[in-house]
Symmetry: C2
Subunit: 296 residues, 2 copies
């Protein structure tokens, strides 16, 4: 495989992936950068540095609604751009080492955020969630020994929820597996709604798999809290006004064909901050502003 093939293949894998959440894909992107640092055929240090940064820029925008891909790859690119390597060997080593360091940091942050969520929720709860999130999965695993029940949506069209259900099953956690349309009915049974995030906007709004907004509405209507749990690398500074929701291949819907039928696959939706009761990251929980609270 030549350099161009490697870059194109790795980027496409990120675009097509429906198995992994945003944090995992961000670490996949870092893995790709580490591997490319080692395998790229260029032998001049300055040219190699330029090729690495060009590849980073390609990966950064592979999944525009997944902030950690953008943020972690940008962090990597900033540090690699600041290197002044005398040899390609040195640059190859540093490129891989920085990727590893950022990846380890991400794993640690996810773990910490999951622990904070588990601490906030406590044992014996029935948690309803939507789609797939490695952070939410870790929160479930943390709570498993003390007892926890899960309500998991299938999450059409990518069916990421099937994966979430399999992981929980392996951990012996009882799972009620539902269609996305049953989110409302089952919110009446749950104690708490917990989701991960693809991106957290500057105004506290959540970008996550389409359907998360519906879960937040149902949770509010049923009087259960709606928590968002993710590493802080998922935050972006701008708000919903300057954010465009990613549309994926409409063929995923397997819609009936017709001249007047347009299948739509807006893969994410935006949950406004006013529907979120707490944001949980590796540093702890931040609660929504209430009459008796000073949080924002």
């Amino acid at each position: 495989m030549d350099d161009a093939e490697f870059r194109s293949l790795h980027r496409q894998e990120l675009v097509d992936d429906r198995i992994n959440g945003a944090s995992q894909l961000a670490r996949r992107a870092l893995d790709g950068l580490a591997e490319f640092s080692g395998s790229c055929s260029i032998e001049d240090p300055a040219e190699l540095q330029e090729a690495l940064l060009a590849f980073a820029e390609e990966l950064q925008y592979a999944r525009p609604n997944m902030a950690p891909i953008h943020n972690l790859v940008e962090r990597w690119a900033d540090r690699v751009a600041g290197l002044e390597p005398a040899t390609t060997a040195e640059l190859r080593h540093d490129g891989a080492a920085i990727a590893q360091e950022l990846s380890d940091g991400s794993i640690h942050a996810v773990s910490r955020a999951a622990c904070e969520a588990a601490r906030l929720i406590g044992p014996g709860a029935t948690i309803i969630t939507h789609s797939l999130s490695s952070t939410v999965l870790e929160a479930f695993l943390t709570l498993a020994p003390a007892g926890v029940d899960a309500i998991i949506t299938e999450s059409r069209p990518g069916l990421e929820g099937r994966n979430q259900a399999r992981h929980l099953d392996q951990a012996h956690i009882p799972v009620s597996f539902i269609t996305d349309a049953q989110l409302g009915h089952f919110s009446r049974i749950a104690d708490v709604a917990l989701v991960g995030a693809d991106t957290l906007l500057g105004d506290g709004a959540l970008v996550n798999k389409a359907g998360s907004y519906l879960l937040a509405l149902a949770a509010r209507d049923c009087g259960i809290p709606f928590y968002v749990c993710c590493e802080s690398f998922k935050q972006v500074p701008y708000g919903a006004a300057s954010f465009e929701l990613e549309t994926l291949d409409p063929a995923e819907l397997d819609a009936p064909r017709g001249r007047y039928i347009t299948p739509c696959n807006v893969y994410f939706d935006i949950t406004p901050a006013r529907l979120i009761d707490a944001w949980i990251d590796e540093t702890g929980a931040r609660y929504a502003a209430r009459a008796d609270s000073d949080a924002t």
Copy 2:
């Protein structure tokens, strides 16, 4: 086919049907009663009357969450029970005639309700709906010449929305076809949400395909009206407290298998009256109580 086979087959067809809405299935039940009146092998008038009423009772509870099946079959049974036929020929004729009369009345009521909905909504609107409803379909067809756009969900697991989309496509009505999980995002684009009903409870709450409650929540949050449109035969006197939601075969979800995974297929959900802006039937529209209104 003997009498028992006919009865069992017809009942099972009602149970398994995912193509037709509640009003259509109610008329199917009446068709079955008319056909059985003619074909049943019993030659004693009193025994025939008893067999017809027994069959009616079987059909009445074939789809417990679809009120018109119960209501129209009960109306038929009440009238057939009141007959005092001298001959089986007379009873056969009357049984079929009463079924036809009730069926015609249902078709007329659906049509009138659809016209009322079309009049209330007016031309040029983008209407978002969920699942399949013959009344909603007729409202779309009524609005088609003046212009109307549709947002249609696939409606997992039965995929009734695919049928709705095909019917609209045949009528040259532009359809945005979405997953159920996109109901929230697309409510922001729609002008009005319109659904049919499987049952209307005594307190004004709606029983309809699971996901209708989510659409009502999204419509309220997005500031668009949520209308329910159905013939008055869908009303029952009791409230949500004494209503049990129908659960269909969990295999329809095609869930991942696992010892700790329980697939759930609660096919309907309940939308409380407070989320409904107007109830439309063949007699017109009844609006939700507002500070400036005297409706209930």
